[in-house]
């Protein structure tokens, strides 16, 4: 889904002016060609060409303001498009001719009566030229639309990566970890080194997560383990991590750090505020044609107040999971966050991925 772009109805006043000028330029060219080929004063052909051309353009551009258009092309969909273009050319031609007749004080639709044949040939020429100009605008509009979409997509992805990074490198977590590290250096240097190694692995994984689109499930579990080991030094016995990754699932490809926001969420809202702490279980299962990943804690649990938009990065973290799933798997993946169904309390987050994503 491309992000909505501010000028959805891709026609703006400046566009009108530009279109009108371009059309007038074409008209001038046609007028000159006709004037060279026909007898009589040159300005007659010019006036008719401008009158007809601008009438067609006016009908075509302004009627697009009234009907619903596809923002990507700037035109209505299906038969409406052909009806709009055909109608605009026919009525624009009649209107333009009438204007020309008025300008030269001729009886209305003079040519229709005197020479239906040349009238028809003018009409056909009109259709050909209008189709050409319409196509020109259509192609140009589509190009500009593409460029705008591309720019917006780039902006979005840069913003998302930054926010993802912020949510993963949560400053509170980082500084608390560093505070622990600072103490451990004096107290227990080997343990300090171990903690530093885990921090390095966590930082490296976080910073490179945006580059790889998929990595093995075993790598995903290893990253979660690094993070939980860091948290374990801080939380001690209040955090009891459990991992359950069946060997036959170890190589399944998953998006990197998909589980990270879920694990962070379980700690931040489940175990950290819970005085006794609890277990945090990360598991993977194959269920039919789905790979099911679960993050479950026995902590404080969700409150009834479901609309609780936390001001910190949590909400972003969870919506990020949903967005990544939608981008990578469309409707074939699902994410659910709810109270754990067994009697132990806490929260259960479930991610369902298609077993074979390309099927």
């Amino acid at each position: 889904m491309p992000t909505p772009i501010d000028d959805n109805n891709a026609i703006r006043p400046l566009d009108f002016l530009r279109h009108g000028l371009i059309v007038a330029g074409f008209n001038t060219f046609i007028g000159i060609v006709l004037a060279l080929n026909r007898p009589g004063p040159w300005h007659v052909q010019m006036v008719y060409a401008q009158a007809i051309g601008l009438s067609i353009w006016t009908l075509m551009d302004f009627s697009r303001l009234v009907v619903r258009i596809n923002p990507e092309t700037g035109w209505p969909e299906g038969w409406r498009r052909w009806a709009l273009q055909g109608g605009a050319i026919f009525f624009g031609y009649l209107l333009g001719n009438t204007l020309g007749d008025l300008a030269y004080d001729r009886p209305l639709l003079d040519m229709w009566r005197s020479s239906p044949r040349s009238m028809l040939s003018y009409l056909l020429m009109c259709i050909a030229v209008s189709a050409g100009i319409s196509f020109f605008f259509y192609a140009r509009g589509k190009d500009q639309m593409r460029l705008r979409q591309l720019a917006a997509a780039q902006r979005d992805s840069a913003e998302n990566q930054l926010k993802l990074l912020e949510s993963q490198l949560e400053p509170h977590m980082l500084f608390n970890t560093l505070a622990n590290l600072r103490v451990l250096i004096g107290l227990d240097p080997p343990r300090a080194q171990l903690m530093l190694d885990q921090l390095i692995a966590f930082l490296r994984a976080t910073l490179s997560a945006s580059r790889a689109t998929l990595h093995p499930l075993s790598a995903e579990f290893a990253r979660v383990r690094d993070y939980l080991e860091l948290m374990k030094i801080r939380m001690g016995e209040r955090l009891q991590p459990e991992f359950d990754l069946p060997a036959e699932l170890a190589e399944r490809p998953v998006p990197p750090l998909l589980l990270q926001p879920l694990v962070e969420n379980a700690i931040k809202h489940g175990l950290e505020p819970h005085v006794q702490g609890g277990r945090l279980r990360v598991s993977a299962r194959r269920e039919g044609d789905q790979l099911v990943l679960r993050v479950r804690d026995t902590g404080a649990g969700l409150s009834d107040c479901a609309a609780d938009d936390t001001p910190d990065g949590t909400h972003f973290g969870l919506s990020q999971v949903q967005r990544r799933l939608a981008t990578l798997y469309g409707d074939t993946a699902a994410f659910h966050l709810g109270a754990a169904p067994d009697g132990e309390g806490g929260t259960l987050a479930t991610v369902r991925l298609p077993w074979s994503p390309n099927a």
Binding site: P171, H172, L174, F175, N176, L178, A179, N180, L181, R182, V183, L184, L187, I233, R234, M235, G236, R238, E272, P273, H274, V275, G277, S303, D304, C305, A307, D308, D309, T310, P311
Partner: protein, 268 residues
Amino acid sequence: MNATALIAEDEPLLAANLKAELQSAWPGLQVVASATHGEAAVQQALTLRPQVLFLDIRMPGLTGLEAAQAIVEEWPDDGSPLPVVVFVTAYDEYALQAFDHAAIDYVLKPVQPARLAQTCERVQAALGQRTPANGDAAIDSALSQLRQLLGSGVSAAPAAPQLTVIQAAVGPAIHMVPVAEVLYFEAADKYVRVVTAQREYLVRISLRELLPQLDMQRFWQIHRGTVVRSDAIATALRDEAGKITLTLRGHADKLGVSRLYAHIFKPM
């Protein structure tokens, strides 16, 4: 200068480290208690009555701010001075602005010895000013600092859509209780008691989550666990000890106002 202190910090290594750093920065300071969560901090502070509190902001149970509020509200009225509060935090930039504003001291983790020494000097100065003669003034300034901190939105969630009805489960039915008919809300563990003139309901939401959804012009917080509709208050009575009690229109309940919110009630 000799003084007693309490440290509330959920991470054991950091608690031990803060204690060690304090010992070298202020040898006369005796750490009488270490609490690992908010409730324990409140309980120990009220039992041991230390002169200085070092409270971590993010703790299980109550946050440091909530613990400070509870301690100030429950602190006995026997003339013993309120403790000096120092908050400890790893990172919370908008809370820090509020602290600067409220002139309450804070320490950043990892603890830097030089910065901690500064904090100790300030705490000593604050304790030194507390002679029996200006005890009331000291309490007033401590209260106003905490009030500013609590009112500055440090702990408040961003503006949520305002509630107009409370959906309260009563057996199998859900009662729709218009917020305008609520006399007062009272926190009861993980629930909130919703009291109207006719009856009362229990809703499974914490007062902390409910507060941002109320119109604070209409509903006044008078205690950390009580929020009352202002036009339901009939009288505010101050007893000899200075404690304020509210009576309500159309209800026999009496509500106590904590010293933190006593300043709301004064004649025009």
